[in-house]
Subunit: 426 residues, 2 copies
Amino acid sequence: MAEPFGAVEVIRTKRDGGALSDAQIDWVISAYTRGAVADEQMAALAMAVLLRGLTPAELTRWTAAMIESGERLDLSGVSRPTTDKHSTGGVGDKITLPLAPLVAACGAAVPQLSGRGLGHTGGTLDKLESIPGWRAAVSNEDFVRQLNEVGAVVCAAGDQLAPADRKLYALRDVTGTVESIPLIASSIMSKKIAEGSASLVLDVKVGTGAFMKDLASARELAATMVSLGTAHGVRTVALLTDMSTPLGRTAGNALEVAESVEVLAGGGPADVVALTLALAREMLAGAGLPDVDPAEALRDGRAMDVWRAMIAAQGGDPAAPLPTARERHVVAAPVSGLLTRLDALAVGVAAWRLGAGRARKEDAVAAGAGVVMLAKPGDEVREGQPLLELHADDPALFGRALEALDGGYDIGGELTPTPLVIDRIS
Amino acid sequence: MAEPFGAVEVIRTKRDGGALSDAQIDWVISAYTRGAVADEQMAALAMAVLLRGLTPAELTRWTAAMIESGERLDLSGVSRPTTDKHSTGGVGDKITLPLAPLVAACGAAVPQLSGRGLGHTGGTLDKLESIPGWRAAVSNEDFVRQLNEVGAVVCAAGDQLAPADRKLYALRDVTGTVESIPLIASSIMSKKIAEGSASLVLDVKVGTGAFMKDLASARELAATMVSLGTAHGVRTVALLTDMSTPLGRTAGNALEVAESVEVLAGGGPADVVALTLALAREMLAGAGLPDVDPAEALRDGRAMDVWRAMIAAQGGDPAAPLPTARERHVVAAPVSGLLTRLDALAVGVAAWRLGAGRARKEDAVAAGAGVVMLAKPGDEVREGQPLLELHADDPALFGRALEALDGGYDIGGELTPTPLVIDRIS
């Protein structure tokens, strides 16, 4: 088949700072997906995009072309209003686990296609997979049925959802072209828009443990994604939230499931509860249910009921004991004083090295591994008091995890409190 | 084998505007050559280099690494001083053909590893291959022997000469990363330095028919290559020469061989003779023979003697009739007046479309095809007088060649004479 463009001409246009035409964008994404544009050509284009940028019009079209590369889920058979949340990834970010059933308990449907973790941020599917029997794979038919019957599905995206993104993301990962706001935004939003939800709340993390380390970049990414969602007819808002310290008191897989269940039972760490409620209110507003108070559904056990149903619907046993790691190692406070800093990246890397995360896509994660934070910034600690508890199956892993934690916390000095929700962008 | 670097880390360093370390450069070129850095990774790096540049120190090391990827020819067995010329490519640029034997006739040895043409600029090997029996392949042993016995070899580079460049050049060609001065300079110079010549004259073309369209870029490329040659111990100078109009009166393969033989016989177009002599004087100076007058060796037939020996040494019959194209088409002057412009690119593309050049590396070229220029800028022409003669084996090719020539010449108006040699950079 004769191609309407040459890859070199498209690459040169962007390389020289020009704007790609709609037809060029449609072609290059489609041709890359079917293999008519080679990996090395897309890599050169991705680098040119990273260094030259995309105009808002180019980015909207680029995202549309990525969505068009696969199927867009049809949720017209779902009787409730649909709403979803996406987090750009953080340490201890188990929010989806209590949030999805909570929002469903309030009357909306939450169709969440989620991912596995890579590097120091955990993946929602990895966490749920620590529940005995739970399966991440759900067919399109079961997806719609579960949304109607339970109100929430958290599952793996099928191969037919934005295949261009799957291919491009793997390429960017090995070619140093991940850190591009337009490419990040189109990657996230192509999948989220293809998922079919009518509204979407973005939790854009900012801080040491986040992908975006500074507020300006996080704000730019949030605004870019909100514009993209809006341009594609999805009601989209973003919260910028703090990721300088981990969320909650656990970072790991089964450890975070257990903490989420505490939240669903009406307890749990204050920051996890607060962020869960803040995001739930945004999602309910997006779903046209602004007057429903999610706090009530936490208190009265309805969210827990949906959680149990949601886990059971995907083969999981919500009552089964969660896996635990074979070995523990306690990090004690070296001095007494106020814990003023506990760095999200340090804890994230430690949890990763303990086996909770993976370095390569093919790796398995250890369900029980991770870090339990026995103190958080703002807590007074006494010398010798347990500060952190490291969980791993293999005690040989403690050494490198401890290295990651070296310099990762401060006792004494000023506590500079950061608001959990920094800004809202709509 | 454990790699000392990760490709992503190297790519990110350059992407973010940093300088690569010597060890990073050595590694990435070597790893790419042996396949441990993938094409898509090198493509991203090439685009980052194109957009971010290389410092002089990085470029020198990059070039050294490309040379180190293969063998550097040992010309210590050559009894005469060695000197070579490289042209960045132009239309009608047959200069190597009279130049190499001329310089050899003056007492130097000319070890020229040359290439085939791609696109609108012809390749020296393609031209020589139009001579019945002539072979481009010469073993290293025969190379040295021919240099001693004849004084000049023009042949194809072996696979072991800068293999990194061969691989990288093919990649750049399909990834829109050709137009980078550091990458162009290191590509040319790695091969020329590996060739083993003690001195080198660069003919950097500038104008419509050249790779460098403007003087500033040509000057930058020339200065970059001169620095690289000098840094690697090769006495290097560059002439910037005009390529706004074709060199001589022919563009093609056998057509240019015939014109070159005219020059060797003491005739030929004035511009070809002038540039041949200018480059010969630079080469002889580089070889430590500044007082030898090459004009004399043209006049007295010594250059022609070396030409015949050089062709015969590679199996060619210098006395055999040259191939001619089956069909001719004359372009007549549409009006009378002064021919003020004959565009090099237009003629180059026309010759290419007539079969003299190739669009893809695998293509064959037609030995007899090309363009004969019956008038050049500065000539008065009469309406109806033959201006150009197109030669092709297939008359169906005339149409698209004529399209390329449309608007490619002006009769009337101002003649703005350009010096043939614009500048000298050492």
